[in-house]
């Protein structure tokens, strides 16, 4: 096994990667070498979004990123969004709205929703569907996920409107 050795900047921390093989995906490096198993692999083709992470503030499928080519680019995984037990508003509303069943698609979806709401503050239902179309869920039929996103948008609007 060719041993690639490089450093990735993940969730604000430099992490050394050893003995990676040339071509290994960022997803596999995160999961198998860095112990960050939040990103999930369900298709190996970028067709399901379960492996979604942020690289350089861009939402991408980590299974389609060559790990060694991500050196020097800040990477954020679901573990980097919040501390254990302290979910973000998106995460909490996912739970409250019934948007989580088996949960396998959930980390990738949470990344995608955070990215969406950072760019579009109050997306319409159609915009939500289009922007999340890269995340496949087999359990929920998407209805409760859309509701969760809408509730986050409403809640954030209310926070913005609170008089100071």
């Amino acid at each position: 096994m060719s041993g690639e050795h490089f450093t990735l900047h993940v969730n604000g921390v430099d992490r050394e990667v050893r003995d990676s093989w040339l071509g290994e995906s960022l997803l596999d490096v995160l999961r198998d070498r860095l112990g960050l198993v939040g990103a999930k692999g369900a298709c190996e083709q970028g067709e399901c979004g379960s492996c979604s992470v942020l690289v350089d503030d861009n939402l991408v499928c980590s299974c389609l990123v060559m790990a060694a080519a991500a050196v020097g680019r800040p990477i954020i995984t679901v573990e980097g969004l919040s501390d254990p037990g302290l979910p973000t508003d998106v995460q909490q509303l996912f739970v409250d709205a019934g948007a989580v069943q088996c949960g396998f698609c959930t980390p990738g979806l949470v990344m995608a929703v955070h990215d969406l709401l950072d760019r579009v503050v109050e997306p319409t239902e159609t915009e939500i569907r289009e922007e999340l179309a890269g995340n496949v869920c087999r359990c929920t039929g998407y209805g409760r996920i859309i509701e969760a996103v809408q509730r986050v948008a409403v809640s954030r609007r209310a926070d913005r409107e609170v008089p100071r």
Binding site: F6, L22, E44, Q45, N58, C63, M66, A68, E130, G134
Partner: protein, 288 residues
């Protein structure tokens, strides 16, 4: 360490000259699928191109009326103005690529490099008569995109060359793209088409995807519609739209595979061509 991340085209081509078996990597949305599946392994070194700023930029040249797009520009960037306003059909095609995750990483240069007949941006480049600039350590050459795309996943790229930029004319007229897939997102085209009606040049271009070994142009259909258009009014009659579709279907050379049948693909590009023409032009009454 055999993954290089050059920051200039010059250093990238220099590395390519030193490592002729190098794998060029841009967005990775095609290459990594092959690697994950075990069908591809980098033999030697990998040259990652996403740090080459020149490849990631675009520019509008109003003098030549062209939009020059670096090979590393992503679909997400092509979806936004100003590039989207300058090449609206390319923005339309970009919107149909994969998913937001894929669009954030996938590049037009990668689409060309893979050269699948189903490549979403390719019919647009063909219909706009785009050119492809290829650069190596020893020089640069420019090819019409139809000459660059040789066959199924085969291009005219020579060893030592990389795709540098794609030059797209900014057209005065109408342009539009349409793509048929079995579901409403993240789908490989089973048939696609791009129509350009260039008012100034009084010319019609129609390019078809997924119905041949590579992108097809349809000279007969283009000529027939071009003759039928009232260029002052930018109109044609319903019969002209229908004939256009028939000729487009006749020009197609589709195959049957697990995604679709030849019969359906031929039928579909005909319908797309008719509908694109209908959108491009106002409907006039048939000639007496």
């Amino acid at each position: 360490m055999p993954v290089f991340a050059p920051t200039t085209v010059e250093s990238a081509t220099g590395l390519l000259a030193d490592h002729p078996d190098a794998m060029l990597l841009a967005g990775g949305t095609d290459a990594m699928v092959e690697i994950n599946d075990g069908r591809l392994r980098p033999d030697d070194v990998v040259i990652a191109l996403d740090a080459v700023a020149e490849l990631r930029s675009w520019r509008h040249d109003p003098v030549t009326s062209t939009l020059v797009i670096g090979a590393g520009v992503t679909y997400t960037e092509l979806l936004r103005d100003p590039p989207a306003a300058l090449a609206p059909a390319l923005a339309q095609a970009s919107r149909t690529v994969g998913s937001p995750q894929i669009r954030n990483a996938g590049t037009l240069g990668g689409n060309l490099g893979t050269c699948s007949p189903a490549g979403d941006g390719l019919p647009v480049l063909a219909a706009l008569d785009a050119t492809v600039t290829l650069t190596s350590a020893t020089g640069t050459r420019v090819l019409p995109v139809m000459d660059f795309m040789v066959g199924v996943k085969r291009t005219a790229l020579e060893p030592g060359e990389l795709i540098n930029e794609i030059t797209v004319p900014v057209v005065d007229g109408w342009q539009g793209y349409a793509k048929v897939g079995v579901r409403n997102a993240m789908v490989i085209a089973v048939a696609s088409a791009c129509l350009v009606v260039d008012r100034r040049a009084r010319a019609v271009s129609l390019a078809l995807g997924s119905v041949g070994p590579t992108i097809l142009r349809c000279p007969e259909a283009e000529a027939a519609l071009g003759r039928a258009i009232d260029w002052e009014m930018m109109s044609a009659d319903v019969g002209a739209f229908a004939r256009f579709g028939e000729l487009a279907g006749a020009a197609s050379r589709p195959i049957t595979d697990h995604r679709s049948t030849a019969e359906y693909r031929r039928h579909a590009v005909g319908v797309l061509a008719t509908r694109l023409a209908r959108r491009a032009l106002t409907r006039s009454e048939a000639a007496a």
